[in-house]
């Protein structure tokens, strides 16, 4: 499950979306493919975000290559796209989008990007950190983290219960043996006392 890119666009209705900032994580592709992959991702992101309505969450899947593009455009006209593979859970992708938008808004003021009309690269280091962190959705997303921990706990507890069952069996065994032992010792004692009683007869 991988996140390939996070892109921020300025979306104006009727116009082409303008790229504001984009980060890539293309370590899974070969070195020479990366250039073309970047171009294609940029194209797909731009097209998708251009067709997304305001405050609408879209997840578009490209069936040939099993890649998904999740986008959202917020009310200020700021669009964000996240390209992932098809296994990546959509819910986590959209929460990643929210986080990315928040980060971008923190760093760059609205006035800064409102005026831009050509593709620029506003550096946002927070985005790079985000993309690296969300490469593993299980740990990054708190819900998935919780679920994963709970599942591990349940497995361990189940194993414990199983072992407890075995322990119970062994304890039963010991109980029956101790029963036998006490019975035998009682017989032994009676025998010894009898011997002692009539030892005058030796």
């Amino acid at each position: 499950m991988k996140v390939y890119s996070i892109g921020i666009f300025k979306v104006t209705p009727g116009g082409k979306p303008v790229l504001l900032s984009i980060v890539y994580e293309l370590s899974s592709f070969g070195f020479f493919q990366r250039g073309s992959v970047k171009e294609v991702s940029l194209f797909v992101s731009r097209e998708t975000v251009g067709r997304t309505g305001v405050n609408e969450r879209v997840s578009m899947e490209h069936t040939q290559t099993q890649k998904v593009c999740h986008t959202t455009v917020d009310s200020k006209g700021l669009g964000c796209t996240v390209l992932t593979d098809s296994e990546y859970p959509g819910r986590v992708a959209h929460s990643l989008i929210r986080l990315a938008l928040d980060e971008f808004n923190k760093v760059h003021n609205e006035s800064v990007w409102r005026a831009i009309n050509t593709d620029t690269e506003l550096p946002t280091p927070a985005l790079e950190q985000l993309i690296l962190k969300y490469q593993n959705p299980h740990e990054a997303d708190p819900m998935m983290n919780l679920q994963k921990n709970l599942d591990e706990t349940i497995t361990i507890v189940k194993k414990t219960v199983e072992q407890l069952g075995q322990r119970g069996e062994k304890l039963e065994d010991i109980a029956s043996k101790s029963d036998d032992l006490s019975f035998q010792s009682k017989a032994f004692m009676q025998n010894a006392e009898r011997m002692n009683k009539c030892c005058g007869y030796v």
Binding site: V40, E56, S178, A192
Partner: protein, 313 residues
Amino acid sequence: MVWSDRTSEFGNLAEAIRRKQEQNGVQLSQRKLSPANQKSQFSYAAAKISRGVFETSEKLTKLTNMAKNTKLFMDSSAQIEELTFIIKQDIQSLNRELSALDQYVKSSRQPNKQTGDHSETIVGFLNTKLISATKDFKDILEVRTESLKQQQEKKDSFAGYSSNTYSTTIDNPSGTSKTEMRHRNTQTRDDNILYKYDEEEDYDSSAQEHSILMPTELTTTNYTASRLRAAENISSTIHQLEGIFSQLANLVSQQGEVIERIDANMDDTLLNIGRGHDSLVTTLYNISSNRSLIIKIFLVLIIFSIIFIVFFA
């Protein structure tokens, strides 16, 4: 096919009975409670029921064909549902009529034993036919649910397929898609739309052999619903954990009791062995000392001396 033969037989039988009644001079339309009239009433009701069962079985065969034909592209589910509903109603009404007829047969007094047996056999026959029709109906419903499930699986596995003309959605997706969306499941629409599309892009720089934009199917995924589902999953996992822990506690307490038993047994054993050991020690002591021997010797001596003295007294 056997069914229709029997119907004509039965119809002939009913005709024969009616003719006999007419020979006896009783009209079919009169509703006097004479035995012959009872018979004609009965035959009339039985004929109606048998016709009803026959029609129902015909509808059932139609439903079977439709259910078997339901493939990915011919979804006549509305028709199937309609037909199912109609058949259910028919079967229910036929059941009612048949039970009414049964009551009628039991309550009314028949002139001779043969007509009574005859009516009872007819009622039983109709009953069995109705039961078999109901069973077929149930089988058909099961087949239909199976095919629906398979359809669902196939739809999930396919990348996209042409169901309606959604080629225009690529141009203005959000507007028309919201109005033309199909409810595949009972999920509510939200601001989340999942498209699956195949395009002419050189995504991995291969030749452009694929066709142009294939019209696609629209499915809905709900962001908030998925979050809700995740939260519900978590809460159910926690409930499971709760159950498992309580089981754990039960097991441990049971085993605690067992352990107490073991403890008690060991204590008893210790006690017994202690006492046995003590008695053995005393035995050993007694044996190792010569006291008993001395006592025995003295006893024998004394007895001998007594006897000696007594004899020599």
